[in-house]
Amino acid sequence: MRAKRIITDTACHILLAILSFIWVLPIFYVVLTSFREESGSYKSYIWPRGFTLDNYINLFHGNNNVNFSRWFMNTLIIAIFSTLLSAFFVLCVSYVMSRLRFKMRKTFMNIALVLGMFPGFMSMIAVYYILKGLGLLETGVLKQVALVLVYSGGAGLGFYMAKGFFDTIPKTIDEAAYIDGATKWDTFVKITVPLSKPIITYTLITAFMGPWVDYIFAKVIMGNETPYYTIAIGLWTMLEQEYVEYYYTQFYAGCVIISIPIAILFLLTQKCYVEGVSGAVKG
């Protein structure tokens, strides 16, 4: 019996080792290639002949075509603004849906559900023309404003997660505040928001990561304005036919650089997610 258990245990560990090897291998390859000394794209061998940090250094001394630090700043600015805007929208809507009762509440929630079923970028072309009509596609900077609006405009529809969290905050706390003479606005700002740190962090971080990983909207709106690109389209450009020979290793260096902060943020959201799902105050 004991021998059998040892055999299954070892088998399980070996299986896990093989699996995690498969899962880590591509990541390892990305990191490995980012340090490769030889330029050019595909090689007939895997282990680099020499190692260098130049790929990373060159990223930040790029010419007009590949201006990594500029793309990085673009994305950062767009991400910050759209985070603030969309977190505000999400918190407002989810608080209203969770706490306040009014006539159109059910209707609004059903509409949100139905709207979520249309493919997101089906409306992309129309959004493009609306932005054009508003004159927001004239210059690169305005296009960035447009991108912020696109990322945060419809954010109010993604209220389900935060609403679920607000639902777990006991109503009795709110009622105690009403008795003390607080208005509903006061209760929202002074009681609900401070109690909701995990879900606010979660909302903020998910909104923040959006612009870093979105490709389609950014591409459609930015078109050929390379200096105003975000990271995602920038990296995509580096793999295009005319660039791939020069920028192949730099592409991987760029991937590593932006993966690190995003990975840290992601691990943070996981922590907040668990806290958020398990509820706010036990009451």
Binding site: W23, Y29, F102, A126, I130, A155, G156
Partner: protein, 464 residues
């Protein structure tokens, strides 16, 4: 508690709960008139500011309508009549373009005018209701709220209006108006041959839907294979990721496994990397000259110049994409199921062991039903997410390998990536819109049907 609430929240507008039709029926002449001359009832009862705001909205709407809106509505019906033409300018001796109507803008402005009209009707109803409120309060001898009270009510019983105003405006501009616009485009002839401003397009009714489904047309010959691949893909991707992820979570969570945190971390690592980075690097890794093919060559499994057509052979491409998707999706499932697995009551397992059940039986009879019960909503979401999984297909294979039998689609194109190609590359906006509507219909039916049949919907307490 109810008593306290009433004391603290002064009742501003008790009859505010009355429906619009009730307000119209029970209101006096002044109230009824307020439905057409906004704010009249309020002004008459000395709620000057509130009344003036209503009136200003109405005036602004009518100015818009007269100066622009009526023309826009007319153009909306015809979608433009004057085609862009060339006029010979004798003085300069050249042909000049004469400005024609832009059908695209006609449609857009038409939609905007319709939305504004709906908003104006809504404000009209509000005005009537507000007048009825005031009338009601006056008849009952209650105090009439001043403008200051109105403002204060925004932090109290009208807080929802205050908080929802901006988000709804955003949703209206960036989700609803574009959506209405695209749905309407499905009924026009806005394809690559009718590109404004050079050409006009018109309403064609259900023509586009007919050509999508008509026997023998190239479109139908593309639509059905793409649809079936989309469904196969969604089912396979969801099921494989779910089952394998669950097994992985079980493997890590079983009693004998050591260093659980370490194993979990190894898999979470691949989730934490941004998806487009993984996808783009996977594309290069499986390239004809990428490291995987190099590896096969070095081991002598294929010739030195041969390569396995991971993305160029239709069947291989489909398998490759599903495998890569497993690589991406399994750690996700592992993460989300770990917590739920730990919640399964231990007694269930002990009882099963006493009865002599083997490990596979326990998995089939206890773990899987329990997990399915808890996670069906998640499964539905990931199924619909996979139908719309643009990124994986677009960044990996780009829908390729292309097929000549298809109308601008490749063998691994999903409906959404085909939609992307039709609109962005091919500029057949009407066909793209038709596909968008069809995807919506599929998603809506799938989610409604499955959700209503699940245990977690019918019988909420089965496992409690």
């Amino acid at each position: 508690m109810g008593i306290f609430k009433k004391k603290i929240q002064p009742v501003y507008s008790k009859p505010g709960d009355a429906s619009v039709s009730q307000a119209f029926k029970n209101g006096n002449a002044m109230t009824k008139l307020s439905f057409f001359v906004f704010g009249l009832g309020n002004i008459a009862n000395r709620q000057i500011v509130r009344g003036l705001i209503f009136l200003a909205i109405e005036i602004a709407y009518f100015i818009y309508l007269v100066s622009f809106g009526i023309g826009a509505l007319g153009d909306f019906i015809t979608l433009g009549t004057v085609e862009q033409g060339q006029v010979y300018n004798e003085a300069l001796g050249i042909y000049e373009y004469s400005a024609g109507d832009d059908s695209m803008l006609c449609l857009l402005y038409g939609v905007i005018t319709l939305v504004l009209t709906a908003a104006a009707v809504f404000v009209g109803c509000m005005s009537g209701k507000s007048a009825y409120c005031t009338q009601f309060r006056k008849e009952k001898g209650m105090s009439i709220p001043s403008f200051k009270d109105d403002i204060r009510s925004l932090t109290e019983e009208n807080l929802h209006a205050f908080l929802l105003a901006f988000p709804i405006f955003g949703i209206l501009c960036f989700t609803i108006v574009p959506l209405i616009f695209m749905i309407l485009i499905a009924f026009t002839s806005y394809d690559h041959e009718h590109q404004p401003p050079g050409n006009l397009f018109t309403w064609v009714g259900l023509e586009n839907f007919k050509s999508m489904f008509s026997q023998g047309s190239k479109l139908a010959a593309t639509f059905w294979p793409v649809l079936s691949w989309t469904l196969i893909w969604a089912v396979v991707a969801t099921v494989t990721c779910y089952i394998l992820g669950l097994l992985l979570a079980l493997l890590i969570n079983r009693k004998g496994t050591r260093a659980k945190g370490f194993w979990r971390f190894m898999f979470v690592l691949s989730v934490a990397v941004p998806q487009f980075v993984t996808l783009l690097s996977m594309r290069t890794i499986f390239n004809a000259n990428g490291p995987v093919n190099v590896l096969f060559r070095e081991f002598g499994m294929i010739g030195a110049t041969e390569s396995i057509p991971f993305f160029t052979n239709p069947l291989y491409a489909k398998i490759t994409i599903i495998c890569i998707n497993i690589w991406i999706g399994v750690p996700f499932t592992m993460l989300s199921t770990t917590g739920i697995l730990q919640n399964i009551p231990g007694e269930l397992y002990e009882a099963a062991k006493i009865d002599g059940a083997s490990a596979p039986t326990i998995f089939r009879k206890i773990t899987l039903p329990y997990m399915l019960f808890v996670m069906t909503p998640n499964l539905i979401t990931s199924f619909t997410g996979n139908i719309n999984n643009f990124n994986v297909i677009f960044l990996l294979s780009g829908g390729g390998p292309d097929s000549l039998d298809y109308y601008y689609a490749g063998k691994t194109d999903l409906l959404v990536t085909w939609l992307y190609r039709l609109t962005i590359t091919q500029k057949d906006y009407n066909l793209g819109a038709v596909i968008g509507i069809l995807v919506f219909i599929i998603l809506a039916t799938v989610s409604l049907l499955t959700y209503r049949r699940t245990g977690s919907y019918k019988d909420e307490g089965a496992f409690q």
